[in-house]
Symmetry: C2
Subunit: 157 residues, 2 copies
């Protein structure tokens, strides 16, 4: 079993950029209901099919499998819901933990979100000063919801 435990924050400023490694991500959802989401993701030349269970607290079941890039391109083009999410994922180390910062493009341009994956829900960690408001429990920031209700369409942001 793989359990994913993440906390998510809006990002302030640009100071996180200097130490980060960037990768272009493109992803879409084959399905996403209240119980489970099935995601196709292309990260550079690699591709993945991921099954994610519903959140329980800040954790959720996650199963990820590498698949051929050509399959992922067909799945995104033919079987995934629209729009496809495009973002640049920056990865950086902060005080011993790996953070990812997602800078969205397309219909979600303007949105920059930071995530840190934890070993357990009550884990104590140092929060960088560029990590602003916590949005772990705000469903609008789920990628499944950003596909259906992109950031650019939000009335107040």
């Amino acid at each position: 079993m793989a359990v994913e435990t993440e906390r998510k924050f809006l990002v302030n400023g640009e100071r996180w950029r200097c130490d980060a490694t960037a990768a272009a991500l493109k992803q879409g959802y084959i399905s996403d209901d209240s119980k489970v989401a099935v995601r196709v993701r292309i990260a550079g030349e690699r591709a993945f099919l991921t099954v994610k269970g519903a959140k329980s607290g800040i954790s959720r079941l996650e199963y990820e499998y590498a698949i051929p890039l050509a399959d992922a391109e067909e799945l995104l083009a033919q079987l995934c819901q629209r729009p496809i999410i495009e973002k640049t994922r920056y990865t950086l180390d902060y005080r011993g933990l790996e953070w990812v910062v997602d800078e969205f493009a397309g219909d979600n341009a303007g949105l920059v979100v930071a995530e840190v994956e934890l070993d357990r829900e009550d884990q104590v960690f140092e929060r960088p000063d560029w990590a602003g408001e916590e949005v772990t429990d705000d469903p609008r920031y789920l990628n499944t919801n950003l596909a259906k209700h992109p950031y650019r369409t939000w009335a107040s942001r």
Copy 2:
């Protein structure tokens, strides 16, 4: 791209059994809407995650990936819709083509269906005499529908 082209028949009698190889299958659906189904299948000690597009004629897109058996057992137990389909799959050669005969158990006990996979929709093939009524276009026999409306619940059968 993988395109699956199948024709499906109800099975008469028992003559097909003598030449067949049997394997126990257990499968469930993570999602199945009108456009796409995501299936988890355990076949003996092997397990697969499969994405199937909607049918177009008698063909459909299909992408299948081997996954760890332990993952498949968790996915069936935790993230698949109920009931799980259980069946014995018999594989046999008939005049140069591979046929599979699925004998269902559990809520679909009593149902025996034969399928042959073709290279193209108009392919000519020899039909064994134990292959009865063709049900290729009858949606009740889709495994996704047999999960929701099992054979035992059908009013007229």
